[in-house]
C-alpha cells in the first residue's frame, strides 16, 4: 500500500464516498417524512424511530443471523411507532409536534434500554455490491462498495415523485394534506389516510436505522444516530416536500459529514471544528433561508400544523 496514496484526491473522493455511505439514513428518513408531511402531519419522532430501527435491526440480525430479517424488523418497528404517533394524533386536540417529541424520547430511551445487551455482540452485516471492480485504485473501489439499501432509497425517490403526481394514492395523500375537508367531502377518512402515511413514513425511517447499525458505521451503540433523524426531518422542509429534492439534499448532507475528517486526513487542519460542524451549519442555514414570518413556505402542505 506504500504507493497507494492519492493525496489531495482523497477529499473529493471522501465527499463522494461519504455522500453514498452517510446519506442513506438521511434519505430514508426524509422520504418517509415527506410522505407523512404530505398527508398533513409532522412526525418529529422519526429520530426515535431511526434509533429504534437501528437497535431492532441489530438485535434481530444478531439473533437470527439474517441481516435482511433485521431490516424487515426495523421497518415493522418503525411502522408500529408510526401507528402509535398517528393513533395518538387522531384523538381530538392533540398536537402532532408535541407527540413527535414525546415519541422521539420514547424511541431513543427504549432503544437504549433494550439495546444494552446488544452493544457487545457483533451481528451479521448487510452485504455490499462491488461497483468498483473496473478500477485499480483501492480507494475508489472502497468508495464504490455500495449497499443495496442506498440503491433502493435512490429508486424510491423518483417512484414517490411519480406516485404523488399520477397515482390515486398519491392524490389522496396530497388531498388529505392540502385540505382535510376536501378529502372528507370525497368520502375518505382523513385519519385513516394519515395513519397509513405515518406508518409508511415510520417503516422507511426504521429501515434507515437498520442501515446505520447493519452497514455503516455498522454496529449498535448509543451515539449511533447523533441527531441524524432530526436533521432529516429539517431536510424535508429544505427539500420543499419534493422527493427528488430529498434525494439531492440527502446526498449533500452525506458529503458534508465526510468533509471534516477528509480535510484533516490530507493535512488541512485549521478550523476543523467548523468543518466537522458542516452538516449542522447547513441545517441552520437552511432553516434561516426557509423561514420567513411574511410568507408561508412554498410547497408546504396546507394542513401542516406549522403552516395552518
Amino acid at each position: 500500500m506504500a504507493d497507494a496514496s492519492i493525496g489531495l484526491w482523497t477529499v473529493p473522493l471522501a465527499v463522494f464516498g461519504g455522500a453514498i455511505r452517510v446519506s442513506t439514513p438521511f434519505l430514508f428518513v426524509s422520504l418517509g417524512e415527506c410522505i407523512t408531511e404530505r398527508s398533513g402531519r409532522i412526525n418529529l419522532g422519526l429520530e426515535g424511530t431511526l434509533v429504534m430501527g437501528a437497535m431492532s435491526a441489530y438485535g434481530i440480525s444478531y439473533l437470527s443471523g439474517s441481516p435482511w430479517l433485521g431490516v424487515l424488523a426495523a421497518g415493522v418497528t418503525g411502522a408500529m411507532f408510526g401507528a402509535l404517533h398517528a393513533g395518538i394524533c387522531s384523538l381530538p386536540r392533540v398536537n402532532d409536534i408535541a407527540v413527535g417529541i414525546a415519541l422521539m424520547l420514547l424511541g431513543t430511551g427504549l432503544a437504549f434500554f433494550l439495546g444494552k445487551p446488544l452493544i457487545e455482540p457483533t451481528a451479521a452485516r448487510l452485504p455490499a455490491i462491488d461497483f468498483g471492480w473496473w478500477s485499480d485504485v483501492p480507494q475508489l473501489r472502497a468508495a464504490l462498495r455500495i449497499n443495496v439499501l442506498f440503491l433502493i432509497g435512490v429508486a424510491i425517490a423518483p417512484l414517490l415523485y411519480w406516485a404523488f403526481r399520477t397515482t390515486r394514492w398519491g392524490l389522496l395523500i396530497r388531498t388529505a394534506g392540502e385540505s382535510a375537508d376536501a378529502a372528507r367531502a370525497m368520502g375518505h377518512s382523513v385519519l385513516l389516510i394519515r395513519l397509513r402515511a405515518t406508518m409508511v413514513g415510520g417503516f422507511l425511517a426504521g429501515i434507515g436505522g437498520s442501515f446505520l447499525s447493519l452497514f455503516y458505521p455498522g454496529s449498535w451503540n448509543e451515539g449511533l444516530s447523533s441527531g441524524q433523524g432530526i436533521t432529516a426531518v429539517a431536510l424535508v422542509i429544505f427539500a420543499r416536500w419534493d422527493p427528488m429534492l430529498c434525494l439531492w439534499t440527502s446526498l449533500a448532507f452525506g458529503g458534508a459529514a465526510a468533509l471534516g475528517p477528509a480535510l484533516q486526513s490530507v493535512g488541512i487542519t485549521s478550523g476543523y471544528h467548523l468543518f466537522n460542524a458542516a452538516p449542522y451549519i447547513l441545517t441552520l442555514a437552511i432553516m434561516i433561508i426557509t423561514c420567513s414570518p411574511k410568507r408561508t413556505v412554498t410547497g408546504a402542505p396546507a394542513e401542516l400544523s406549522i403552516t395552518r
Binding site: 496514496s5 452493544i119 449511533l224 465526510a258
Partner: protein, 369 residues
C-alpha cells in the same frame, strides 16, 4: 436475578416490595457494609472508556461487605451533583467514583466540600492542593501502554503511515498520540502518525469517516482515543487495515486485525482503593501510576505481530516494570520544528509539565487547533 446489573434509578422505579426484599437480603448478609457509588458519563457497555470503569466496579462488587450503586450516562453538568447527592442521601454511599474527566471542577470539588466526611475519587488526575482533602483524582499513565502499541505498530506497518482517530486536542489525548508516535519511531524512524480529531468523545459516523479517510491515505495501522473504539476497530478491519485498541481489549471484534492495545486496569486498582478506605487508610489525593503500578496494561499480542516486534515491545515493557524508562526524553521537537523538551532533560511520568502538553511531536501529521 442479578441486582448489581440494575442501575440505581431502575431500582427506585422498581416495585417497593422488590426493593425492600433485596435491601433486607443484603443487610442480612453483611451487617456493616460500605456502599460505593460509580458514575459514568456514557453507557457502561461501550467497549471503551466506561466499560473499563464498569469492569473495575464489577471487581469491587465481588468484595465482601461492599454494596455497589451505579449510574450511567450522567452528563458533565449539575446533573452529576444531583447524582452524587442522591447516591449519598438515598443509597448511603460513603465512597464515590465520578469517573469522567469533566466531573471534577466544579462539581466534585463542591460536593467534597459539602460532604467532608465522605470520600471522592475522581478519574482524571486533576487534584491540586487547593482542593478538599477528602477528594482525590487518580489517573493512569496509559501513554506507557500506547508507547508499547506504537512499537508494535511501527514494526507492523508496511507503508510507514499510522493513523490516530482522536476526539479532542486535550493534554491526555495529545500525550497518547505523542507516545504512540515516539514508540513507532523506535521501530521505524521514518514512521508518521496522521491524526484526525472528530470533535467529541462519541461520534460513530465521524469516526467511521475518519477511519476511511485515513485508510484512503495509505495508512495501514490505526489506533484511537475516543470513548468507544468499536467503530474504528470494526471499520478498519473491514478495509483490511490493522488496529491497536484502546481502553479495553477489542480483539474479539477483529481477531485478525488486532495487534495489541492500551488498556486500563481498573479492576486491579478499584478493589485496592476500597480496601484502603475500609481499612481506614488514606488514599493519596494525587494517585498516579502506569504499567508498574498495574493501573494500565497492554493487550496480548495478536498472531500477526512479528517475533521482532514482540521482543522489542517486551523489552521496553520490562523496563517500565522495573521503573527505568522515560518516554519523553529530550531532545524532542514538535511537528512545527520547535524544541519542546531540551536535550538532556528527562520528563519522567510524574512531571507536571507533561500534563500541560499542547504540542504534537515530530512525525505526527496534524495540528492541535
Amino acid at each position: 436475578m442479578d441486582f448489581g446489573r440494575i442501575s440505581r434509578r431502575h431500582l427506585l422505579q422498581g416495585s417497593a416490595a422488590l426493593a425492600l426484599s433485596s435491601t433486607f437480603g443484603i443487610r442480612g448478609a453483611a451487617a456493616a457494609e460500605t456502599t460505593v457509588g460509580f458514575i459514568y458519563v456514557g453507557s457502561r457497555d461501550d467497549y471503551g472508556y466506561n466499560q473499563a470503569h464498569a469492569q473495575g466496579a464489577a471487581a469491587v462488587k465481588k468484595l465482601p461487605g461492599i454494596k455497589v450503586v451505579e449510574e450511567e450516562k450522567v452528563p458533565e453538568t449539575d446533573a452529576v451533583e444531583k447524582t452524587i447527592e442522591s447516591m449519598i442521601n438515598l443509597d448511603g454511599a460513603t465512597l464515590l467514583f465520578p469517573t469522567s474527566f469533566g466531573y471534577y471542577n466544579p462539581h466534585v470539588v463542591k460536593m467534597a466540600s459539602k460532604f467532608p466526611k465522605l470520600h471522592f475519587e475522581h478519574c482524571g488526575g486533576l487534584w491540586t492542593d487547593k482542593d478538599p482533602k477528602n477528594a482525590g483524582s487518580y489517573f493512569g499513565y496509559i501513554d506507557e501502554a500506547q508507547y508499547i502499541s506504537g512499537i508494535v505498530a511501527g514494526y507492523s506497518t508496511k507503508s510507514g503511515k499510522l493513523g490516530f482517530v482522536a476526539a479532542k486536542p486535550i493534554p491526555q489525548v495529545l500525550r497518547n498520540i505523542n507516545a504512540f508516535t515516539l514508540g513507532a519511531k523506535l521501530a521505524n524512524p521514518k514512521a508518521t502518525t496522521q491524526v484526525i480529531f472528530t470533535g467529541d468523545w462519541s461520534m460513530p459516523v465521524k469516526e467511521a469517516e475518519a477511519t476511511n479517510s485515513l485508510i484512503d491515505q495509505g495508512i495501514d495501522v490505526l489506533t484511537c482515543h475516543v470513548d468507544g473504539p468499536k467503530t474504528m476497530v470494526e471499520n478498519a478491519a473491514r478495509r483490511g487495515a490493522m488496529v491497536c485498541g484502546y481502553h479495553v481489549n477489542q480483539s474479539p471484534l477483529a481477531p485478525k486485525a488486532y495487534l495489541t492495545g492500551a488498556e486500563w486496569n481498573w479492576e486491579a486498582l478499584y478493589p485496592k482503593f476500597v480496601k484502603m478506605i475500609t481499612a481506614g487508610e488514606a488514599i493519596p489525593n494525587f494517585y498516579r501510576g502506569g504499567l508498574k503500578e498495574e493501573i494500565v496494561k497492554v493487550s496480548p499480542y495478536g498472531e500477526m505481530v512479528s517475533a521482532e516486534a514482540r521482543k522489542h515491545a517486551d523489552e521496553v515493557k520490562a523496563k517500565f516494570m522495573a521503573d527505568g524508562y522515560t518516554i519523553f526524553k529530550g531532545p524532542i521537537v514538535d511537528n512545527k520544528g520547535k524544541t519542546v523538551i531540551a536535550g538532556g532533560t528527562d520528563r519522567g511520568q510524574q512531571d507536571p509539565e507533561l500534563e500541560r502538553m499542547d504540542y504534537l511531536v515530530d512525525g505526527v501529521i496534524g495540528a492541535t487547533a
